[in-house]
Symmetry: C2
Amino acid sequence: MALFSRMSREELLVAEAKLLEKYNAFKAKSMQLDMSRGKPAPAQLNLSNGILSMPIDNYINCEGIDVRNYGILNGILECRQLFADLLDIPIDNIIIGGNSSLNLIYDAFTRLYIFGSLGSTPWGKLDKVKILCPVPGYDRHFAICEELGFEMINIPMSESGPDMDMVEMLAAKDPAVKGILCVPLYSNPDGICYSDETVERLAKMPTAAEDFKIFWDNAYAVHHVYKEVKLRNIFDACKQYGTEDRILYFFSTSKITFPGSGVALVASGDRYIEDIRRRFGKQTIGYSKVNQLETYNFFRTPDNVKAHMKKLGNLLKSKFNIVLEKLDSEFKDTDLLKWHKPMGGYFISVYTMDGCARETVRLAKEAGLTLTGAGASYPYGVDPRDSNIRIAPSYPDEEELKQAMDLFCICVKLAAVKKLLEK
Amino acid sequence: MALFSRMSREELLVAEAKLLEKYNAFKAKSMQLDMSRGKPAPAQLNLSNGILSMPIDNYINCEGIDVRNYGILNGILECRQLFADLLDIPIDNIIIGGNSSLNLIYDAFTRLYIFGSLGSTPWGKLDKVKILCPVPGYDRHFAICEELGFEMINIPMSESGPDMDMVEMLAAKDPAVKGILCVPLYSNPDGICYSDETVERLAKMPTAAEDFKIFWDNAYAVHHVYKEVKLRNIFDACKQYGTEDRILYFFSTSKITFPGSGVALVASGDRYIEDIRRRFGKQTIGYSKVNQLETYNFFRTPDNVKAHMKKLGNLLKSKFNIVLEKLDSEFKDTDLLKWHKPMGGYFISVYTMDGCARETVRLAKEAGLTLTGAGASYPYGVDPRDSNIRIAPSYPDEEELKQAMDLFCICVKLAAVKKLLEK
């Protein structure tokens, strides 16, 4: 297609008229499609239905503990072992906690707010707490920081992860900089994987705050789609530099089995996990061991989890293909839209011309397609360039997704033409 | 038996020698029994095994929502309706949250610590926060307050609940008094039920703190054993005085189905539950709806819950009978031990002669019987009279329980004789 930026005003007006015609034809269809969140499709969930029908006929676990009764704050041993092996993190440093890694992240932040870490001043008692936020990132992380009044600092992302020069500089010089929010593998939304060097530098960097934390939300640890990208093990990296207690590692089965009905875990260094365990002891008597045993019984081995994720990944791959092929065919080598091709995860993240994301999302919404709000992937909902849009292709079926992408591409162009005509 | 207090020193020495003989005979048996916590017995848990084997064959709930996927922060409608009907509280004021009411209580306290309530100053920003603690009470409540640095004030319990003259006076005059911890029906550990007047006065009393909260842990709402005591509905009472937002109502199925693997709920007035819901929205995407549907499917109606509780109550009744008959036969009309006969709940709470509880528990432990630590039912673990001991008879089988009670009675007497000999 012709490049809009080289068009005359007259040519743009003609282009706009054509696009409006197509757009209005879509509007007339009264489509109603919600692609705002990374929800698994029913076909993905069906792969885990075995959990719903598999009875627990032996409720005594491998430690001889009745999972129906009180006890075991840490989580049952077989479940911890499964995840320790799957993620290659030390079993003693894992606590299985509840149904939601987001809740564990929230708990981690409120714990630091109220108690600090290993004797440090509680973050809530400080005048200022700053959290480094690689952008674009996960809106729900940012919402927690905003709720707690922590100042968020945007850190640009590159193909190898956050801008580590900037991270190192800020962490080293400012004691108010207390942490960094990371989705290190197939990041939400860009699908970027942190390079070995990035992980190494996070582990190694000096921090002015003695209680600096790396919020390592490894949400997509086994969520490969096109190929399996290897992530440098943060525990190994930190061990080398004696910084394990800065790790706050999170993982859940929400996008493996059923969102919100699986199990989540938190892991940290020897000293800090002990502190968390002690505080969890005030917070609860224990998390659901029946859920833990169900999850364990369904998988039993890391290989079975990986085989299951292969099937899930294949389902997602056909959705990703639809999106990427459409983007390629419409926008390859144009200045209207850029994107990063993710190798896994749940999202495809695109960049419109500056100042066009909100309008694109608004146009889509008006024609019946709800996208993630423009700006949602940035702290305070503010995308400085108004450019990023997160596409969550997992939920719709393939036919709907094709329709949605057709409409989306029209909206991207229409917003761009309007922008160019404003000049 | 002869009253120790009227014995001469010589008679006491003879009595001590006889008791020591019996005590040592017990010690020789090398009994190992843990009665420290209110754990259900396997026979009680077996009554809920249906949950483990009942497949979920329809995962679309009554609202048309796929419980396997994200969504519904409040909890699924049928589950909320079940508990609204069972507890006679308004459905719109209920949020089903997680597996543990203790965790919801902890969350409630930390939320108040960080955010205050409906615009009030966050409790963590105040110099002093005081919580009224009817004693004896639930150790895990006290542990949360201690963890957060809230000062706990002992409030004596009578047969009708906490000393309301004292509660009203403290709440009215001191703005640092921010709340009261209540287990209003079959209180832990005494099994006392709040009278209608007590509930009424809690609802009606003026409080110097605008954000005063009643932590209403109705843990034993349907846990009748000898008879069903009716508790005045706190929502009705508060409605009358426009004080619904001071209610923080908690309930769980931990002692109905499986401890820690069921569902818990929090309820409050219209304004405050909305505030909680909004903050939960930052904390999690949602709690396990699969658990909620499992729980609902197992019961379906309040009548089924009540029928199930009848069976559980009968199992507990035989345990309660063993304890109470033994206490009657050994200590009735003596000054060695007093107790309140509970009509339901999980515990029997006894009062030794002043200064004898720790020694009694120590003696029992040394002979292989672990009781709840003396003092545990008081803030900071300090029973000012060193008198109260909580007996948790649910877990051991009847034979073990009889043995344990034989030993317990010997320990009570031995500690008393020693005490009297000290004088």
